[in-house]
Symmetry: C2
Subunit: 336 residues, 2 copies
Amino acid sequence: MSPNRQLRLAARPEGEVKASDFELVDMKTPEPDENEFVVEITHISIDPAMRGWMSAARSYIPPVEVGEVMRAFTVGRVVESRNPEFAVGDFVHGIFGVQEHAVSDGTDVYKVDIAAGRSPASYLGILGLTGLTAYFGLLDVGRVQAGDTVLISGAAGAVGTAVGQIAKIKGARAVDIAGGHEKCRMLVDDLGFDAALDYRGDDLRGKLREHTPDYVDVFFDNVGGGILNEGLVRLARGARVVICGAVSQYSQVGDFVGPSNYLALLISRASMTGFIAFDYADRYPEALTELSSWLAAGELCSVDDTVPGDIEMLPEMLARLFAGQNTGKLVLELGP
Amino acid sequence: MSPNRQLRLAARPEGEVKASDFELVDMKTPEPDENEFVVEITHISIDPAMRGWMSAARSYIPPVEVGEVMRAFTVGRVVESRNPEFAVGDFVHGIFGVQEHAVSDGTDVYKVDIAAGRSPASYLGILGLTGLTAYFGLLDVGRVQAGDTVLISGAAGAVGTAVGQIAKIKGARAVDIAGGHEKCRMLVDDLGFDAALDYRGDDLRGKLREHTPDYVDVFFDNVGGGILNEGLVRLARGARVVICGAVSQYSQVGDFVGPSNYLALLISRASMTGFIAFDYADRYPEALTELSSWLAAGELCSVDDTVPGDIEMLPEMLARLFAGQNTGKLVLELGP
């Protein structure tokens, strides 16, 4: 049995996640039974949703229990196998958690095709739940149409960069809100979005007014708080507000900040809808086919922010994520 | 020319409406031109929307300008006519404003059928914009189904009493939030709703939990603020939150209270949608036919709260409305 270090939830965080909310334990990797295989985890997806999974509040999936391995989307390599479907050397992705190895019988595990010139990280990003979230959120919930103005908050993040690119593919204008000059420059210069507004600067309301002269048809909100509230002011009649997350709020102690401008929904006959990409699981193949074809055609790129390190770095990776220090998909790459 | 007293907007209110926000002026009723007629106004509808019309903020219709007659839905009697479609003695309804007489060419004016045993006030209530708001809000925006649990805030108000009755007609459970024991008793005993929860009592959250064991499929919110926020906690998966108004917030100085629990929309894959009954104008005839047939069958009743008085009473009528002192449709009946 090979060693296996795991990061387990030690305490439910109050406010920001601290290192002491986790416990590092040294385990052994069990021998695989018949039909099982062992995965050496190479990439761990760092997601805003992790903060919610650590909380006991009612949510769309059960919380991680104290004492359990922290939940995470991961990519890894099969290093031992008694399952004829998975051979040693195969790259796979699944929800293996924050640990170095995992044993699986293949349930909810999928092979990844590195040979096609895609990075392992892209299977956590644009070809993973990130890309699927952007795809179904913008197309099904947001019902984007050519000519629409799409406003995206957290636009330089993993989902945001995917949403903006898909909006452009669909013939919409992409107006972004992001934090900092360099991110805004990247969104316009490198990804070709129509405008990027720095929420850290002055007068976000004035900038929004200037860059959404025809108002906003789809507002894809990853951030919540004051940014959600400002975006609501600019809704076009019949607008769709897509609630994907609230990265500004997850580490809040006490109540979240609610959008005081929510009556814009009434004035604009608009809707605000929450969604979970998991609900579209039966349509993942269709979405992945389309996302892959856009990638192959060079219309879409995977914006990855891969950090080499060790599972112990999870708390600081989460801190980096919630401080908005990542650009694109934040992935922890476990080194040898 | 007969005298005509008018209540004109004198100032845009800050917070609660005051008597000094209006000016009473003595005018003469102009002689009707060819094709015009004169209406003696008998009933003035007192609506929460009036507070919004007095404000200069961007909304779904232009504000009432300072110096203009205050906008109001009204019923009146034709007292002089040079229009062959409208005879002296006809009862009509239209947006004639807060004044004693109006001259009209018949545009957007409709006859009311008092002979059928309906009160003039019912044309401002269940057969007016109130009933239409309840009808389209619950059926089109809320998409209520038999077996659904419908939560209604401001349930003892004009729209609320109509929504609850239509919900029952459609085979749904009606769970109401209202202020005070007597209103709650009326909603259950007289209107047959399934439960009525007094928000003025303790532990609204606990009462909601008790009375919505299968959660809430449609939340029809007239109130906003803390009540909207508590209702969000109880959303069923795929729930529809219908934003009809925010009577608790209109008189607020400064920002409204936003719903801090709005991420329930994400957890429950729910939507929150605003609407304006005016948008359904081409379907008013269909709705009025159905509402009338329910009335005739005794399945639906018009809950009227008619107060005799004078146009000068508008400010106190609005105060009564925003304090939740009315039960059903508040109408000012102008007496001789």
